[in-house]
Amino acid sequence: MAGKTLYDKLWDDHLVKQRDDGSALIYIDRQLLHEVTSPQAFEGLRLAGRKPWRIDANIATPDHNVPTTDRDKGIDGIVDPVSRTQVETLDKNCDEFGILEFKIKDQRQGIVHVIGPEQGATLPGMSIVCGDSHTSTHGAFGCLAHGIGTSEVEHVLATQCLVQKKMKNMLVKVNGKLGPGVTGKDVVLAIIGKIGTAGGTGYAIEFGGEAIRGLSMEGRMTICNMSIEAGARVGMVAVDDTTIDYVKGRPFAPKGETWDKAVDYWRTLHSDDDAVFDKVVELDGSAIMPQVSWGTSPEMVTGVDGAVPDPAREEDPIKREGIVRALKYMGLQPNQKITDIQLDRVFIGSCTNSRIEDLREAAAVVKGRKVSPSLKQAMVVPGSGLVKAQAEQEGLDKIFIEAGLEWRDPGCSMCLAMNADKLGQGEHCASTSNRNFEGRQGFGGRTHLVSPGMAAAAAVTGHFVDVRELMH
């Protein structure tokens, strides 16, 4: 019999019941909750007279609606009354059911996908869900992490299980070493550019190969985070020393003898040598350039040395139509060089790139430089209160502020512009977030997805430039 993939192992370990029709009950070790996708789930629970199955499996925090300034005002700092109600509703639900919540003024508050790992609430081998498609982030720890809808949030609250059908296995192998200035973000954008936004639909993707092994946990989280942009609900990286070192000593991590026992188990969380994947995609990591997206879908991406495509050269009529529509929305010309795209704003943040390493990378580029006067705004939004504190301890905040970037409080912010931070109509933004959909960062706003280093380089020049030219 062939060996098992990492996904097979995680699946088998969490299987409560295999039903005859192919669906299965999967036990959920951890659920993360935020204010946008949970209110209707709690309401459903209440209406049906049900109680949460296992309260200590849940952790909550408000992130999507929170303002990134005046945090000391707490909930009163949320100007929009509808946003405020949503955050208050989360507080009320967590208080009522006794669920641990990092509230708006707690230093541990932050974007759910940043705080889970930071607290050690994300542990290798766990099954994790959250009413948010970027839950795939946690797969970087060798977890089975699914983004789910609100009905499923309610289902997990009530039963601690998720109804799932087993997915197919895909291995994305990134060979070789990444060049300097090339990051996890560039790798995942290159992968999406290659397999497309539906390339991973129906698959659980394991990212492997030398380039992935060489990445820090932050880099791996960035890659798993964007699995969903490749269509895959689940993305994973095998456990190794990097994983275990990261987890050690975190508040929710096991200690003493339990730690040793856990580590023994975690070391088994990799695909067996003779495991069989339904699909294997290989990339040469050493050939990956810093990436920039030019369109309105994450697969519309190219190297910084590239140009906007010419729809006339696309043979597939549906794709051609898609390019024409994207160029119109983005206000770009066919064959225009990426480095000629002028920018209005720069956003460094989001669950893709707001961890300490991301901020260090950006700070290294802007250090001793100034934000281009042609920009309206450049802002840095750390992923959590603890990331913010760490950055301030390292003096990164000063580097940003001296260069003319705004240093904000943690939250999702301009990644989806549910709070006050948004793009104006027609504005181009270099953004470290994960989605460049129409209107995502504000009505009529034009998003270009890049790494933190590339966003920083764009901030000091006012247009895209190969970050490697600014590195000393």
Binding site: V16, T37, Q40, G202, P254, T258, R435, E438, G439
Partner: protein, 215 residues
């Protein structure tokens, strides 16, 4: 949940691939803590010419005349005909809530994004995957014939055109069973509460670190 057995309705063709859930229901409307009332803001940025705000009276807003749902011939449509990778992006269940609230019961496409596909079933909405050529044919027929309707039978797993041509589709048995009977997923799962408890007890012994409430 509302059961789904058979449905016949007017088809609205939306000729665009990779329609994401941000497009189906933009973020400013996700602030509601209810499940209903999203219909007027379905496809907000495509449907209206101005920028939509929550809690606004949409009847006064300028409509985009080119958008399919604004055309008289598709008034009252309850079957949405779409292109590949429909519903990609964010996991927001507000997307199926908005489609449902607008009056759609069925969505037909060559492919769907996973989370969206799954969310539809939880809300009595039926997503149907048909081969690309068939979808192409339905697009042609719907655009050519005003008042074009399709009949969907979940029991028989068929989509039938006005001329009587029938296409069968696949749907997994569990989802079909729940939808046909309007079953509540949670109730079905809780029938196995003992199994869940046994599993949990075993895990508590073998992997105690999973039950650590932190400090």
């Amino acid at each position: 949940m509302r059961a789904f057995t058979q449905h016949q309705g007017i088809v609205a063709p939306m000729d665009r691939s990779n329609v994401d859930t941000d497009m189906i229901i933009p973020k400013q409307f996700l602030k509601s803590i209810k499940r209903t009332g999203f219909g007027p803001n379905l496809f907000d940025e495509l449907r209206y010419l101005d920028e939509g705000k929550p809690d606004q009276d949409c009847s006064e807003r300028p409509l985009n005349p080119d958008f399919v749902l604004n055309q008289d011939r598709y008034k009252g449509a309850s079957v949405l005909l779409a292109r590949s990778n429909f519903g990609c992006g964010s996991s927001r269940e507000h997307a199926p809530w908005a489609l449902d609230d607008f009056g759609f019961r069925v969505i037909i496409a060559p492919s769907f994004a996973d989370i969206f596909y799954n969310n539809c079933f939880k809300n009595g909405l039926l997503p149907i995957v048909l081969p690309e050529e068939v979808v192409d044919q339905l697009f042609r027929e719907a655009e050519k014939n005003e008042g074009y309707q399709l009949t969907v039978d979940l029991q028989a797993k068929t989509v039938t055109t006005p001329s009587g041509e029938s296409f069968s589709f696949d749907v997994d048995d569990f989802r079909r069973h729940c939808l046909l009977n309007g079953l509540d997923d949670i109730g079905v799962t809780l029938e196995d509460a003992d199994l869940i408890r046994d599993y949990e007890e075993k895990r508590r012994q073998t992997a105690p670190w999973l039950f650590n409430a932190g400090n």
